[in-house]
């Protein structure tokens, strides 16, 4: 049974209590295994994670569903008024669904449109850039650790810091405009122009998360046995073929994770954009989560029922997106296996 030995004495000492603890855990686990079989063991392994999920995420989300059927100004569920589907009706009251200005909750529909655009563009660019970066970093190179750190650095920053840095750079007399004036180009009010604001929101979101997905893809690339590449090289297979026939298929599980996570995170974009543009100008970079946050928590203008309804809709869209993505990738996997 191949496993790692703790060779040096220091790590041996440090790991000893850990190994002792694990040996102790083994005892009840064996009992579970005997009594309940492998199904029970699986359940035992899953239990801690699912318990925490259940209590701290699923249950509040369920409460949120209840909130979406209530109205009134009170914060806690028991003091709120039941209003049935009124909040959903308010959200869907539109003369023309493609024109937010004709809707009662115009800001919700603007936010929805902006989010849709953002998701499509940002995820595509982000995944492509992460893939390229991972491929570049996977090459034989010196100081790979340094280059990996370079790309990963922004991920270490909190969203507020990310947004602040870029806000400075993009201000009227910020670094970017200063460099442009040197080159003789007129400075631009980057974050006050509707189109540029969206561009920068996408750019900053990619900047902040590129390293994260690159790391995942890199781990996936490293799991591909070098033997395969060597064999392909001996066969004289052209690079492009190597990529499509070896790399891509074996990287597929990691790619799915990356696309999925990027999608889900893109729909929920909030932190960086909120600090960078605050949803402006007007509502050019207003995204769904900010709309929900403002509707549900903004001082005095708080409408928790409406916010809850909007968040349920957002979750519904996410679920559909994810199912579509998963089933199409599952189809791919099956196709590959044949």
């Amino acid at each position: 049974m191949p496993h790692r030995e703790a060779s040096s004495s220091l790590s041996g000492i440090l790991l000893a209590p850990l190994r002792g603890a694990m040996a102790i855990v083994d005892i009840p686990m064996r009992w579970v295994q005997r009594r309940l079989g492998t199904g029970g063991v699986a359940a035992a392994f899953l239990a801690p994670n699912m318990l925490i999920f259940g209590v701290f995420v699923l249950f509040p989300m369920f409460l949120n569903v209840l909130y979406s059927f209530t109205g009134g100004g009170a914060l806690y569920l028991d003091s709120r008024v039941f209003v049935g589907t009124e909040q959903y009706e308010t959200l869907f009251e539109c003369r023309d669904y493609l024109d937010p200005a004709s809707c009662r909750e115009d800001r919700f529909w603007r936010a929805a449109r902006n989010t849709a655009f953002f998701v499509v563009v940002q995820v595509a660019l982000l995944v492509a850039a992460s893939l390229v970066t991972a491929l570049v970093l996977n090459r034989k190179m010196r100081a790979r650790a340094f280059w990996r750190a370079v790309f990963f650095f922004p991920v270490l920053l909190s969203p507020v810091v990310v947004a602040l840095i870029w806000k400075w750079i993009l201000q009227r007399n910020g670094l970017l405009n200063a460099m442009l004036s040197e080159a003789g180009i007129e400075p631009v009010l980057w974050l006050v122009d509707r189109n540029w604001a969206m561009f920068w929101a996408i750019f900053v979101a990619i900047w902040a998360h590129l390293g994260f997905y690159t790391l995942i893809l890199l781990a996936g690339l490293q799991a591909i046995p070098a033997v395969l590449y060597e064999a392909a090289q001996m066969d004289g297979t052209p690079r492009w073929r190597v990529f499509t026939r070896i790399t891509l298929p074996l990287l597929w599980p990691s790619l799915i994770v990356v696309i999925l996570l990027a999608l889900i995170r893109a729909v929920q974009v909030f932190d960086e954009v909120f600090v960078l543009t605050g949803g402006g100008p007007g509502s050019a970079t207003l995204f769904l989560v900010q709309y929900i946050y403002e509707t549900g928590l903004a001082q005095q203008a708080r409408n928790l029922g409406l916010a809850a309804a909007a968040s349920i809709l957002m979750a519904a869209v996410l679920i559909v997106l994810t199912l579509v993505q998963l089933s199409s990738s599952g189809w791919r996997e099956r196709k590959e296996k044949r």
């Binding site: 191949p2 063991v41 699912m50 570049v136 034989k140 200063a178 590129l210």
Partner: protein, 350 residues
Amino acid sequence: MTGVLAFITRRRGGAGWHFTDVLAWIWLLTGLVLMFGPVVWLGLSSFKTRAALSEFPPTLLPYQTRMVEVAGFDEPLPLYRVRAEDGTERLMVQIRRIGSMAQMADPETPGETVRVPLQARDPVRELQLATENYTEPFERLDFLRFFYNSVFVTVVATAITLLVNSMAAFALSKYEFKGRTAVLALILATLMVPLSVIIVPLFSVINGLNLFNSLWGVILPTVATPTGVFLLRQYMLTIPDELLEAARMDHASEWKIYWRIVLPLAMPAVAVLAIFSVMWRWNDFLWPLIVLSDRELYTIQVGLNSFQGELNVQWHYVLAMTVVSMLPVVAIFAFLQRFITTGIASTGIK
């Protein structure tokens, strides 16, 4: 020298430069400028005084106006370069400013004052690091306490995360059981619930469980990361089942298999998750903000936020403490990096 050049220019294929090599280098260099540049900017700006920070256009390096001790004045006076009407330049100190004229004098002869229009003078600036931005929060405010709280939360949460997530990933990747897809879907579902959306119900849950205003209340809800489970699961899927079968035939318990075989083999992914977890917990802001009420329990990010009043942000402290708050995460990242490189190649079972 040729050795160094050889290091830098090593590339795929070994022989000539393929165009992919060029592209790769362009990508790397662009990445360096784009990724590091703004962060370097952050670092430089953290040494500027508050006044210097709100200056536009911003200077690259932290500058402050040179102050000169002048006989007859208690406080040092700022030094300026003054352009006289005949084009000559003199160095003078400014005694005071009245309207759009400044009363200035030669530092050698402070008694003779001259009135100079504001436009005719430029400050003499020198490189000076406002290190008080770094020391004051620790001295005057409770930053050391915040630091400790953050370390505690991060270390404990990461340890629990690694354990709990890997257990769940193991179950989901190596066992077939009824409801496996349902569980996977459920975990996915939790990804779709951003915190900002469930704040109010979550607050009532925390209150009900008596976890309000405690560091454990900050830790526990965050450890079951769906990203972590997915990451580890995808990696564990690539671990050959034959290994487990062999171990089972040797009468190893499932727990032993998990602990002795699967977990060590999943080290690259575990290391990645460790880095992510440290980063997430260290940068967590909204959640500790909701749970913690006593200032002594604040984590660094929440403490940073306290530098913001309703109408006012103390940028100089925010920047400096942000740099400080980045250091541990960077250190962990550097330390764990090498685990990511050890691929599955080292195990070679077949």
